[in-house]
């Protein structure tokens, strides 16, 4: 039995990934989280002085807060199991990554444990977000300077 033959056998016998079902669940769960986000945004627009644009910041913070509670009470991993990407792609998934790492490493103390591991999972998102923003903004700035495009 060589590696290739075994890989083929493994593919045949392992349960197939239910692509369509996973996508539908991701769509429904992710869509619902965004829908809740929209209600939160509407709340901020109606009762506070936020416009459609500026309401996104408090909305994001509120959703992060909700996800903190869900993670702490042990519900978010269920959402993640059902929704897959529907649970991890929204900002609530980012919050789940931060909060779950923070409470997990509490046993090692607040400085080395919580502080050192909080961004264990989410740190890469910040890194790639910041670096790609840097590159994109740099390219755009140069292109503007060269007169190829305008702001």
């Amino acid at each position: 039995m060589n590696e290739k033959k075994y890989a083929a056998l493994e593919k045949e016998i392992s349960p197939k990934t239910p692509y369509l079902r996973n996508c539908i669940k991701a769509f429904l769960v992710g869509g619902t989280i965004c829908l809740i986000g929209q209600f939160v945004a509407l709340f901020y627009m109606t009762y506070f002085d936020f416009t459609e644009r500026t309401s996104s910041n408090p909305t994001v913070s509120t959703m992060i807060f909700f996800a903190m509670l869900l993670t702490g009470f042990g519900f978010y991993k269920k959402i993640g199991q059902i929704g897959g990407a529907g649970g991890s792609v929204p900002i609530t998934g980012f919050s789940n990554a931060v909060v779950s790492a923070a409470i997990e490493h509490k046993s090692e103390g607040y400085v080395l444990g919580v502080g050192g591991n909080m961004f264990k999972l989410a740190g890469s998102v910040i890194l790639f977000g910041v670096f790609s923003a840097f590159v994109v903004a740099l390219i755009k700035t140069i292109l503007v300077k060269l007169g190829v495009v305008s702001w």
Binding site: I13, P15, G74, K77, A97, I103, E104
Partner: protein, 333 residues
């Protein structure tokens, strides 16, 4: 006779008693009535996962010893292992019980590798009571190998649930009416290029099939000689693959093939492909199989514990998952 990892014991050391402890979720196991002690809380009342893990191990050792009317001072060796970094729970357990100790690691195959070593020490006359066993704790293992417990990642159907359980056995020189260790096969590492840590059963199946083949050839036995051939923690997917590989090798796959991982949580789909972890094979071997042998239902069994020898580092660096399987043969006379 010793040749290429094949061992035959002259004095047939016995398993005089066993001790099995398990966490709260393991109450769902069909074998629960055979477990000696259950905890209502994952950390068994200790402050951290690792301390709870160590406490569970201590309790299992004490239970096994008390069943042979002994105290830790009577025991000659403690051979135990787990999956946490540097096996700290085993180390702390050994510190508490104070038995001369060797930590052993063969991932989830530790249950059998410790049993073989204990049998060797007993066979050579160095040991009157040797405690052998292995354990795992879900939260401690998951956080080390995968994600934080509360992280919402989607597990595929092939993934397995690390059990919170410890199983140990007290190995003594041959005693009448007790299951005894006849022969064993030390596995060689098999790596067929599997890389998915959420499908460990598939990675381990070839190792199990390889060791099964070597044991049958090396000791000149047939499948029909055994009342039960039980693998450790292949899970539903791995077990299917292992049976396919075995029948490809010309082995007649019968009803006597069982897998501890597949059976551990019954048919509950929330555990996906079944159980895994060093505690899975050891608890089932030292409760279900041991009890069936004492009752006389099983006269001769072959236990093949499988282990995936990966680390979080090796997986992240893109290495494949090397796997091992050790086999031990028990008889009841």
């Amino acid at each position: 006779m010793v040749a290429r990892g094949l061992l035959t014991f002259k004095t047939n050391p016995s398993i005089a008693s066993t001790g099995v402890t398990a966490g709260p979720l393991e109450k769902k196991s069909p074998f629960v009535s055979l477990f000696d002690k259950m905890y209502d809380e994952e950390q068994s009342g200790a402050g951290t996962n690792e301390q709870g893990h160590a406490k569970m191990m201590e309790d299992a050792c004490m239970i096994a010893l008390s069943k042979v009317d002994s105290v830790p001072e009577d025991a000659d060796f403690l051979l135990i292992g787990d999956l946490v970094n540097q096996m700290t729970p085993s180390n702390f357990c050994a510190a508490t019980v104070g038995i001369p100790y060797m930590g052993m690691f063969s991932a989830c195959a530790t249950s059998v590798s410790t049993l073989i070593t204990a049998a060797l020490l007993t066979d050579s006359g160095f040991s009157k009571i040797a405690i052998a066993g292995a354990g795992s704790q879900h939260n401690a293992v998951e956080r080390q190998f995968r994600y934080p417990i509360e992280y919402g990642s989607q597990k595929p159907e092939t993934s397995q649930w690390t059990v919170t359980a410890v199983g140990v056995a007290a190995v003594t020189p041959n005693k009448k009416g007790m299951p005894s260790i006849v022969c064993a096969t030390i596995g060689s590492v098999v790596d067929l290029g599997m890389t998915d840590p959420l499908n460990m059963g598939a990675a381990m199946a070839p190792a199990a099939a390889d060791t099964l083949q070597r044991h049958l050839d090396g000791h000149g036995t047939k499948i029909t000689d055994y009342d039960c051939i039980m693998t450790g923690d292949l899970g539903k997917t791995g077990f299917e693959l292992y049976k396919t590989l075995a029948s490809n090798n010309g082995i007649d796959v019968t009803e006597n093939f069982r897998d501890a991982g597949e059976e551990f949580y019954g048919e509950d789909p929330s555990f996906f492909a079944g159980a895994s972890g060093a505690g899975c094979s050891s608890t089932v071997y030292f409760s279900e199989i041991y009890a069936k042998m004492l009752q006389g239902e099983y006269k001769r069994v072959l236990l093949i514990a499988t282990g995936a020898l990966l680390s979080p580092l090796s997986f992240q660096q893109g290495d494949t998952i090397p796997c091992i399987a050790h086999a031990v043969e028990l008889t009841m006379k």
